[in-house]
Symmetry: C2
């Protein structure tokens, strides 16, 4: 017997409109026929970049994250502009946050970060052939980041010790390591 | 020169109170001295379980996710109850979603899923020594899941092909694989 899992959306209403996210509530019909409510955070989506230099150092950024109330070390990342192609966004964000461009770009897949309540997708890229971007694109005015280059093995050791706490950063580093085995 | 990254919270206000999440807006003082606003989704936190049986099969659950408008395949997971110990939550969720208990539990670390806008942390565990839980705990009434056992290597192949789209599932599988090398 194949289990019926799909839910049917009966109605939807926006409960909150914010600067980055919206929150909506959907009334859904469950496989059992009953109805339930689902709270959904709408997010524009994001990209993140595993940028590796000739010495196999990975480019990380340190940034204060208000939700974590802490400085986290992450791979460069940013939100998609409306209608923006994810690769273009990745190239833009790498330049804005690190002043670098890559000559070779490869998609590493895309993922839902919290599919239980958020529609945020993140697209990961591997960038190589790094050089200084022609003119440093202006970063967001309210974003202060510090660029750190770490040997890839050191970054992977930090993942294994749970010292890197950011999901996209962990996925990208692990994925690259497994792809080289 | 050490770059100043920390921001200081000047005031905070709740803009939305939901069933699972709240949204607040913090006014912060940037390192530059300017002020800015940060939109923060407050989430209770979650756990997820990489459950491996004697044949090195991983226990996955298929579940319709309204934010993705699709059935996703994920490791068992769930939200923390207020004040709940993450390990206790993991044992509870494994029983509720799969009817299984584990005799051996090991923490695999914790992560922020989207630290740019959400404070959600997820705690990952490895569970082994699986057996039928004494009595199947009642799952959430509005949650329908289908349990699937897959050989670990097959699940890792699906990660490499970007067929498993859920971040916590990818992290847990990759982390276990890298720990066995």
């Amino acid at each position: 017997m194949v289990k019926q899992l799909e839910e049917e959306t009966l109605s939807t209403s926006v409960l909150y409109r914010g600067r980055i996210i919206n929150v909506r509530q959907d009334r859904v019909k469950l496989p059992s026929g009953k109805t339930a409510y689902r709270e959904v955070v709408e997010h524009p989506g994001a990209v993140a970049i595993l940028a590796l230099d000739e010495q196999e150092q990975v480019v990380l950024v340190r940034q204060y994250r208000q939700p974590a109330a802490a400085v986290l070390m992450e791979i460069p990342a940013g939100k998609l502009d409306p209608g923006e192609d994810p690769l273009h966004c990745a190239q833009r964000e790498l330049a804005e946050e690190t002043g670098l461009q890559g000559s070779s770009w490869k998609p590493l897949g895309w993922f839902y970060l919290s599919p239980g309540f958020s529609d945020e997708k993140i697209y990961l890229y591997l960038a190589k052939g790094l050089s200084k971007a022609p003119s440093q694109a202006a970063a967001d005015e309210d974003e202060t980041v510090e660029v750190v280059n770490l040997p890839l093995n050191q970054a992977l050791d930090m993942v294994a010790r749970n010292e890197l706490k950011d999901a996209k950063t962990v996925i990208a580093l692990q994925m690259f390591r497994l792809s080289t085995l």
